[in-house]
Amino acid sequence: MLSRVAGNLYWFARYLERAENTARLINVNTYLLLDLPRLITPGWLPLVEISGNEAAFNKAYSDASEANVLRFLICDPDNPDSILSTLRMARENMRTSRDVTPREVWELINDLYYDVRDHGERALLRQHRHNGLTEIIRDIQRIVGMLYTSMSHDTAYRFMRLGFHLEQADMTSRIIDITSADLLPHQADELAPLQNIQWMSVLKSLTAYQMYRRHVRLRVNGTSVLQFLIQNHDFPRSVHFCLFHMGSQLQRLPSSPESWHQLQRLKCIVDDANLTTMDQDGLHNFIDEIQQGLANLHRRLAASYFGG
């Protein structure tokens, strides 16, 4: 398989996954804000922080109002991580991979991109937001489902899986990092009930709430949420799960010892961490380590397979 095609498929998956995560994050934050007392509300800025684009945001917008943040995240063509931009990039990458993917996938991503480009602004209004974003999520899941069911699980497919998992691991760790920033230090004080609400919203932004309840059977508390999202073996958005499945894909691709070793190193860091004793700083450093590990893994994949 050509390096260029492999790279395009990998990036297609990453952009698509990124768009879905952003859409989910906005939806959850919208509801979270309704539940929290005005005084402690984290507002909308954390969402910009999660995407890692604060500098660009601050340059283009005067304040982190709901309207500004949402415009930036949903339909700002100048934000490379807005839903609109990521869908455009997913589409561009799919355009050149049409001969290895089912035709319907191209049609779906094409429709979805135009839909967001032409009607994305509607999601800025609260009354349309939930439906608009849910539809984007649903369309993306249709694409993922179609790939799963109607594409041979061959080399081309494996590169997409690498992209999906790497992006998800990255997103999960970012979401934990940002949303937990204000949570852990106050663990014992009178805001405890609200913390539960916030931890629940962390779970919900990864559609993990229901699964968490089934697996953990405990009231929501910080440590077990972290364990679930980072180390659970069965939940598909947990960091462990993503890394484990990247490993299964890597084993069936032309050998790349550098990528493999980096992946194993990262897995050890994730699996061996003792999350019960971790304080806020420790968690932040730990997440940082994961993030750097993922970036490193990406560089090694690119060097081995995508021609740098």
Partner: protein
């Protein structure tokens, strides 16, 4: 009934399906009998089925519109064009003969230039040919073949004679539409395929693969073959992807390839570099290699020409093959056939006037209102003067152009192109068409069974190019049992 086949007439033109008395031609009879048995509603249903099939199969060409690239379905007319096998065999022989002579000419021109020494062909035409590549002088490609894939446009005049209109020796396109059109008409008219003896066309990808594989510089069982495309924004990208897929070869862009110290071409794959033996390039000469041709080319691969010169990679078509694409050089093809093969041309050229010869130029200038004037090196139907439809000012402009550079123009009488019944809204009406068969040359020669029929969808129009409102039809070579 809105479609009345008994009233169909194509006055003054040769119709491919009907004789002047309104009776179907022998080879078209099973088709016409079948079409007559259909109600208007049946026809509409079949037409819708064909539109849907085209959409589902994703048959498109790319056009630039409103600042972005869009894929557009190429209009397909469901009524096929029919040619009897006995007639086709003669055309096939004529095409093979023609392309054999063309390849010998190209080889001669880049090597000994015997044809010039012997005074059959004037040297100055080469010196002023836009598609002559001095870099290719002295090269002897495998099998001495330069144009491995040729698309030759044929037209039929009112007396029924088939003429060669032009040869496309650079990167001729359209063959994928020929293949897909057949897929569509099999789905739309399965009944006729049972009764009429229609020759299959789907051998082409295999034949093309064999032609390309035979060029491999390495004697390996499965040479690595790649189709080099300018990319997704090229109007023929669909065809590039389609052919690569059909042949099971890699579809590459220039940056997927690189030429190493050993002069071999490699493609970058996920398992590391892989040597490429044969490149079916769909990029024009000038963009192939920025170190030799256009320096600003982003499409090609640096060093590709060097790899070819050193015999480390085969390029199809060979760089420089387009020298015989020139419409003035075209006028000499019957002479080439005589000179190289000692034979008379089986297929005649359209009568042509060469503006670089004084007498013929005088005739052209005096008869601009009756002639079609063509520039020597344009394709896609651009830059032409269609005398009878042109304004006085346009004719004056061309007069000046011809006088200024006579070598760059030639002229032909306007032909009464043949017609075939074509669906237009709810009626069936005669529309003009041409035919582009594809000729493969390697160890052996192969001609597509029929080719791509292009049809001018507007009433009276003679322009069949997809870029200018043309459509296409399936082409049936039908065995009627008659001997040729």
């Amino acid at each position: 009934m809105t479609i009345n086949w008994d009233k169909y007439r194509s006055d003054g033109f040769y119709d491919e399906l009907f004789m002047p008395n309104g009776q179907p031609r022998t080879a078209a009879r099973p088709l016409i009998d079948y079409l007559r048995s259909l109600s208007d509603a049946d026809i509409r249903i079949r037409r819708e089925a064909s539109d849907l099939t085209i959409k589902l199969m994703g048959i498109t060409f790319t056009v630039y519109s409103e600042g972005q690239m869009i894929d557009r379905a190429w209009p397909f007319d469901i009524i096929p064009r029919v040619i009897p096998l006995s007639e086709w065999q003669r055309v096939e022989d004529g095409l093979k003969q023609r392309v054999r002579a063309l390849n010998m000419f190209i080889h001669d021109i880049y090597n000994k230039q015997n044809i010039i020494c012997d005074g059959v062909f004037p040297k100055y035409l080469i010196e002023r040919s836009k598609n002559f590549r001095p870099q290719c002088v002295g090269v002897s490609p495998p099998l001495k073949t330069w144009a491995h894939i040729c698309g030759t446009d044929l037209v039929r005049d009112s007396d029924g004679t088939i003429y060669v209109l032009e040869d496309n020796l650079r990167v001729p396109s359209g063959v994928s539409y020929m293949l897909e059109n057949r897929m569509v008409s099999k789905r739309v008219f399965p009944e006729v395929f049972e009764t009429a003896n229609i020759m299959p066309v789907d051998d082409y990808p295999t034949q093309l693969y064999d032609t390309l594989a035979a060029l491999s510089p390495r004697r390996v069982k499965q040479p690595t073959i790649a189709l080099l495309t300018p990319g997704i924004y090229n109007s023929a990208y669909f065809e590039h992807a389609y052919l690569a897929q059909q042949m099971g070869i890699e579809l590459v862009i220039g940056s997927d390839l690189y030429v190493d110290q050993d002069d071999c071409v490699y493609m970058r794959t996920i398992s590391g570099p892989r040597r490429v033996d044969v490149i079916y390039r769909r990029i024009d000469d000038l963009f192939l290699d920025p170190t030799v041709f256009r320096k600003d080319s982003m499409l090609g691969t640096p060093g590709l020409f060097r790899a070819w010169l050193n015999g480390k990679v085969a390029l199809a078509n060979a760089p420089g093959a387009g020298v015989a694409d020139d419409k003035v050089i075209y006028t000499y093809v019957p002479d080439f056939i005589k000179y190289y093969l000692g034979e008379d041309a089986i297929l005649p050229n359209v009568p042509s006037y060469r503006c670089h010869l004084k007498k013929e130029q005088e005739y052209v200038l005096a008869n601009l209102d009756k002639l079609v004037v063509k520039p020597a090196n344009e394709s896609g139907g651009y830059g032409m003067l269609i005398g009878p439809h042109a304004s006085e000012a346009e004719r004056e402009r061309f007069k000046a152009l011809i006088l200024d550079s006579p070598r760059d123009y030639m002229a032909q009488p306007t032909l009464a192109l043949s017609t075939a019944p074509t669906l237009s809204r709810k009626r069936v009406a005669p529309r003009h068409l041409d035919l582009r068969p594809f000729i493969l040359s390697g160890k052996e020669q192969y001609v597509t069974t029929g080719g791509l029929t292009r049809v001018a969808l507007r009433k009276g129009s003679l322009v069949v190019n997809s870029s200018q409102g043309g459509g296409s039809k399936d082409t049936w070579i039908v065995d009627t049992g008659e001997k040729g």
